[in-house]
């Protein structure tokens, strides 16, 4: 049985079929990339998985559990974290508290305990902070720990988004265009980190990406989409040579 599975997933806005009967599976520990021209439905698939949109039809399974009807906040609790294409950080908070929100799914304390800040809350806080510190070290974010997001450059924010997702200790991470807006060196760093996610932390990665060199470097498999339909699926080289994919990008 595959780790994550989407069966005939569809998302229709009136007559527009943003995602049209898409089926795919992700194996545990692989890096799967979704490519496709603008408007192909890549981000819509992400928004379906993280339940920002409700699928028109189709089902999704994670670790053999049907997650199609789960409320959005439960998706994170199951171990699926995501980043956003247009950075969605908590602007007026420090980097540290942004990352601590990533730990939210591990918080076990009750409201009344927090009001009194009982020793159990304090102990939990220390665990959260230790975990966050590990992520900060992994992604080299030490200089920004106490800075407000609103004062940070774009490239750093992109990394902090990844960091926040990692703080939730996900099993599956969804990266929505991790390299968009990054310069060449930053993209390089990002590609190393994505490989490390898989090799060191054992996290399965689903990624939407336009930068083909990054896709080629990190992906195990690639899915090409156009007009909400799957054009091709396979290794990066296979997909790029597939005649339908060439037609979609260059015109027939």
């Amino acid at each position: 049985m595959s780790y994550f599975r989407a069966e005939n997933l569809s998302l229709h806005f009136g007559g527009l079929k943003a995602v049209d009967a898409v089926s795919f599976a992700i194996e545990k520990g692989e890096i799967l990339s979704i490519i496709g021209p603008n408007g192909a439905g890549k981000s819509s698939i992400f928004n379906l998985i993280s339940r920002i949109y409700r699928p028109t039809s189709g089902r999704m399974f994670f670790e053999d559990q049907d997650i199609t009807e789960q409320p959005p906040y439960d998706i994170a609790r199951l171990g699926i974290a995501r980043t956003f294409q247009n950075i969605e950080l908590f602007e007026n908070a420090t980097v540290l508290s942004n990352l601590l929100v990533g730990r939210h799914r591990h918080s076990t304390t009750q409201l009344w305990q927090e009001l009194l800040f009982l020793p159990s809350v304090r102990a939990n806080e220390k665990v959260h902070r230790r975990r966050v510190e590990q992520v900060i070290e992994f992604l080299d974010l030490e200089p920004y720990r106490d800075k407000l997001i609103s004062g940070l450059p774009y490239g750093v924010r992109k990394v902090i988004e990844l960091a926040r997702a990692l703080c939730s200790e996900p099993k599956l991470i969804l990266l929505d265009e991790p390299s968009s807006g990054l310069n060449v060196e930053e993209t390089d760093d990002m590609s190393f980190w994505i490989r490390d996610l898989k090799n060191e932390l054992g996290i399965t990665v689903l990624m939407v990406e336009h930068d083909m060199s990054l896709v080629n470097r990190v992906s195990d498999r690639v899915i090409a989409l156009n007009y909400g339909r799957v054009l091709a699926m396979g290794s990066p080289a296979e997909v790029q040579q597939h005649p339908d994919v060439v037609a979609a990008y260059l015109g027939a």
């Binding site: 920002i52 508290s97 929100v101 939210h104 220390k126 940070l152």
Partner: protein, 383 residues
């Protein structure tokens, strides 16, 4: 300037980052504790109002400042707390019991009001809370069997452990101060734990909060409930301080005053609630002073510049007429809000931080330090 070297996670968690804070807050507390034995009874009375307004300010900060849900209905929550106290007092319920019941009931009603907030954003939410406030005001005026209608209700002096505590006694002031301090400490505890961070997350991006596992609906309702409950507690004290409550005390203007408290104090820190409360409580005597003395002063100036007795008296009466115009107070409040939003969006506490930083960095202070720059503008946000 002091550099903090953090060697333990405790350094980030503790309430007082270093010993300097302990000393300054200790001195402040000592001053507040000896205040009733030094200050005049008028100033003491003002100080009690500062405590009550600051408590409501903290409550509003939790909801508006940290969770990002605007509310113009807090006068109604205050009224519910006050009326619960007055009603239960009639049946000889002891103070600690009706104090807690008032808070719990207001919290419950706050949670119910929170439900429409799940679907409303920004200005629509403000309108919803205003209508809630009007509904409560109307109920208070019409439900005569309980609230005594427009005639209002008398509130007896509270009795604590069999001792009667008059509203002007130091004990009542200490009670208000204790409620304020406990509220602040509880809120700070909340803000350094997962719930508080979830609130801030909802304020800044609901989508991101949701995808991090925050149950946005639940936390919005929680925020409403906590904020309302604290306001309910403050309402009990408010009722006792005034010793008489009637529906026209809990109008929209009071809700606006609470908004002014946090707007002028600064919406990003609890200090703001206290500074704003001092401001709003002290502006009233200041306005009264202006109303009484301004005509004389202006007429005097006119006279020194050679205006005749007749025209000086004329000016005096005109200024006096202007100063006692109906609704002038509301207009001045409006002006204050506009000026603060334009020129001091971080509020009084923001100004204080700027002054502090100026002295810390003395020759090197740059004016642009506090300028917020938009580096990246979000194009589309899935709310």
């Amino acid at each position: 300037m002091r550099f903090l070297f953090k060697t333990d996670y405790e350094d980030d968690i503790r309430l007082f980052p270093h010993s300097g804070y302990v000393v300054s807050y200790g001195v402040l507390l000592a001053v507040l504790l000896i205040a009733p034995y030094v200050l005049s009874s008028y100033l003491m009375s003002q100080l009690v109002f500062v405590c009550i307004y600051a408590t409501v300010g903290v409550a509003l900060l939790i909801l508006t400042g940290f969770t990002g849900q605007a509310s113009l209905g807090h006068a109604a929550f205050l009224a519910i707390g006050a009326y619960t106290a007055a009603y239960l007092q009639k049946y000889n319920v002891p103070f600690p019991v009706y104090f807690l019941v008032a808070g719990a009931l207001t919290g419950l009603i706050g949670a119910i009001v929170g439900f429409p907030a799940l679907r409303l954003q920004g200005i629509y939410l403000v309108i919803a809370t205003i209508s809630f406030a009007f509904i409560v005001e109307e109920i208070l005026a019409r439900w005569e069997s309980v609230t005594n209608g427009n005639e209002g209700m008398r509130v007896k002096a509270l009795s604590l452990l069999g001792v009667t505590v008059s509203r002007d006694s130091p004990t009542f002031y200490f009670l208000c101060l204790a409620v304020l301090v406990l509220t602040i400490v509880g809120t700070l505890n909340l803000l350094r734990s997962p719930t508080g961070r979830a609130f801030v997350a909802i304020r800044d991006s609901e989508t991101a909060a949701r995808s991090m596992g925050v149950n946005v609906a639940l936390y919005k309702v929680k925020s409403f409930a906590i904020s309302a409950a604290i306001t309910g507690f403050a309402g009990v004290l408010f009722a006792h301080k005034l010793s008489f409550i009637s529906p026209e005390m809990f109008t929209l203007q009071l809700s606006i005053e609470f908004i002014i408290v946090i707007l002028i104090g600064g919406t990003f820190s609890l200090h703001g609630a206290v500074l704003g409360a001092i401001f709003i409580v002290m502006i009233d005597p200041f306005l009264t002073y202006l109303k009484d003395d301004l005509p004389g002063i202006i007429a005097g100036i006119a006279a020194t510049f050679g205006a005749g007795t007749q025209s000086a008296a004329n000016i005096h009466s005109k200024v006096a007429a202007f100063a006692s115009l109906n609704g002038l107070k509301g207009a001045i409040y409006g002006l204050i809000i506009v000026l603060f939003v334009l020129f001091e969006p971080l509020g009084l506490y923001g100004r204080w931080l700027k002054i502090k930083l100026f002295f810390q960095l003395f020759p090197l202070y740059k004016r642009a330090t506090f300028k917020r720059q938009k580096i990246y503008v979000k194009s589309e946000r899935n709310r």
